[in-house]
């Protein structure tokens, strides 16, 4: 326990600045900045040099991000199987999507996955972050909680597939030793989605906790010291100090993790391949099957657009509800 309560002053000023999760000064767009730009232009323009510096990144942006985004939307209005040119079919794909029970099932399964995944992960990450902040400042422990994040989803999926194996998995051996029945975690329709959701919690909780931990670092320690002198309990301090002041960071982390969670694919592909009986056929897996299994790229694109719309709406709603852009840390 030699690293307990390690003083934080070890980091260089550079590191310290990096840790601050607060918004960096946004470029002011007021009259002053316009004036500055005009003055800069008179003083000399770096146009030629900037063109060289920006060219590779801009090329990458236009060719592999902007163009595919527009093309994805265009393809959603076509029938396209990769071999023959895309054929414009108007809203046919969307019409089909609305009538496709598997699509709605996939959407529902995905929402169930996200709810469990984000619910458990956020609470657990918050707990880990607070423990890392209030109990110890150990960098070693922070490193340890991050290790699962270094594994790929594929590795995490395979390992838990083995641990939770119905016949031979140590997880089920322990259950049986404790007097419970064996659970076919990934082979049972009801258990499969919660199990996959928790496997991904295992992989991502440390990373999420470190994001929140960085937010906690911005809360002045004096507040805790003062509350302690007043006799406040840790529990009370958590609700009265930590939660209100962490809110903006928590909100942004929540938005990011929800977006990531909706894109679940790898773990499903490795552990259940969408089964049993479509129980884990999440949207992204269904889209992949439509594109690469049945070569319906138009239909797959339409479902991708639907996912994009769902994500945009959720992000906007979350942003409004959590007032992510405002801080209470005055």
């Amino acid at each position: 326990m030699g690293f307990e309560d390690e003083p934080q002053t070890k980091e260089s000023p550079d590191d310290r600045r990096l840790q601050q999760p607060s918004r960096a000064p946004a470029p002011r767009r007021g009259a002053a900045s316009k004036l500055k730009i005009r003055r800069a232009r008179e003083a000399g323009d770096d146009g030629a040099l900037a063109a060289v510096f920006i060219a590779p990144a801009l090329l990458g942006f236009l060719v592999f991000l902007l163009w595919p985004t527009l093309r994805g939307i265009y393809l959603s209005f076509t029938r396209f199987n990769l071999l023959t040119p895309a054929e414009w079919v108007g809203l046919d794909n969307y019409d089909r999507m609305i009538r496709d029970p598997v699509f709605w099932h996939s959407l529902a399964v995905t929402v169930e996955y996200v709810a469990i995944n984000i619910g458990v992960q956020t609470v657990a990450a918050l707990a880990v972050a607070v423990l890392l902040q209030r109990l110890t400042q150990s960098a070693v422990l922070r490193g340890i909680v991050l290790t699962p994040y270094l594994m790929s989803n594929v590795v995490a999926g395979i390992v838990w597939l083995w641990i939770l194996d119905t016949q031979l998995g140590i997880g089920n051996e322990i259950l049986q030793a404790l007097g419970f029945d064996r659970i076919p975690f990934l082979a049972d329709e009801a258990w499969a989605i919660p199990t996959i959701a928790l496997i991904n919690v295992w992989r991502h909780v440390g990373y999420t906790a470190l994001l929140l931990f960085a937010g906690l670092q911005a809360i002045p320690n004096d507040m805790y010291e003062a509350a302690k002198v007043d006799g406040a309990s840790e529990w009370r301090m958590f609700w009265r100090i930590t939660m209100p002041l962490l809110r903006p960071v928590l909100a942004v982390v929540l938005i990011m993790t929800v977006i990531g969670s909706f894109q679940v694919f790898d773990t499903v592909a490795v552990t259940t391949a969408g089964g049993p009986a479509n129980a884990t056929n999440v949207l992204q897996y269904y889209i992949y099957g439509a594109a690469f299994g049945r070569f319906q790229f138009g239909y797959a694109s339409a479902m991708s657009v639907a996912l994009l719309v769902v994500l945009s709406v959720i992000t906007i709603v979350q942003y409004r509800l959590t007032r992510a852009g405002q801080t209470d840390l005055g």
Binding site: F61, G72, S152, V155, I163, G206, F265
Partner: protein, 306 residues
């Protein structure tokens, strides 16, 4: 410990009263560490066991019937007959090939992406040119597009370019930039005091020289963090390589592992070999993290929020 000794008497009293709570909190922390690390031990334990022993002795905490067969199978060192006899699939894993592919793809992506993104970040942060804010706004909007949305159209593009089943095809979409990388580094360059550049300008250095000789070295911490995170992300990527690569020549480790998992021998899954392969696939990232853990852990908040 430092904080404890400098605490005022009243605070120390409070601390002592909370000691039961602290003990509970440490217990929870210990449990978290256990759940985090136990699967890693279980990988090792399984990899060092033989398949028949795993079936008869599933709950022994130590390796059963200690063997290196799993690793030999994963590395393709066993003959087909030997592998089948030990419960593996006869078709070997061209492991070294996949490892090399993973290294090449991840290195290509990381080096190019970090270099191109830092040049762009400098142009956005420090150079004066018309339309700068508009172009940057466009990059920012790119942050909003979920990566997964661009995969299908990008596959169509890579196919049209004739780069399906090549390492370049896997690397290309993220080789030049990600909006995040540009944004992350721009943020750093914005915070560098202008005096630094002005001093160099007075010494007669050009802007190109300033970028390479002054700003890049100053940015080593964020650049290393970004590079390591990019390397880990591309190393662990599965979905995109799965779409683009079909044969051994371009197969990366994640895809190979998933394939290995899917080929079940008649005797049941080759858990020993699979865990050995999993461990070897994960080791490079553990080593990389071990080298840079301190820097990454302390700058991850900044990275993630932005």
């Amino acid at each position: 410990m430092v904080a404890m000794t400098t605490a005022t008497p009243s605070v120390r009293r409070v601390r002592r009263r909370l000691s039961f709570g602290r003990a509970m909190a440490w217990t929870v922390m210990g449990l978290i560490v256990l759940i985090t690390l136990l699967p890693f031990y279980w990988i090792l334990r399984t990899a060092l066991s033989t398949n028949p022993a795993l079936a008869t002795d599933p709950d022994n905490p130590l390796p059963v019937d200690l063997t290196g067969g799993g690793f030999e199978r994963a590395l393709g060192l066993q003959s087909a007959e030997e592998a089948i006899a030990q419960g593996g699939a006869g078709s070997g894993l061209a492991f070294w090939r996949y490892l090399l592919n993973s290294v090449m793809v991840s290195t290509l992506i990381t080096v190019c992406q970090v270099f191109c993104s830092s040049m762009a970040a400098y142009a956005f942060a420090r150079l004066k040119w018309r339309g700068r804010d508009k172009v940057f706004g466009l990059f920012l909007a790119g942050l909003m597009v979920p990566t997964i949305f661009t995969l299908l159209p990008n596959f169509v593009l890579i196919k049209q370019l004739g780069l399906v089943d090549t390492l370049l095809g896997i690397a290309l979409p993220t080789m030049f930039m990600t909006p995040f990388a540009v944004f992350f580094l721009r943020q750093f360059f914005m915070n560098v005091p202008r005096e630094v550049e002005e001093a160099a300008l007075l010494d007669g250095a050009g802007k190109v020289r300033i970028f390479f000789r002054v700003l890049l070295p100053m940015a080593s911490t964020p650049i290393v963090t970004l590079a390591v995170l990019t390397y880990i992300t591309s190393w662990n990527d599965y979905f995109w390589p799965l779409m683009v690569s079909y044969g051994d020549s371009s197969r990366v480790l994640t895809v190979a592992l998933a394939t290995f998992r899917a080929q079940t021998p008649q005797t049941g899954t080759d858990w020993s070999g699979l865990m050995a392969a999993t461990l070897i696939a994960a080791l490079p990232m553990l080593a990389l993290f071990g080298l840079f853990a301190r820097r990454i852990v302390s700058s991850i908040g900044f990275t993630g929020i932005k």
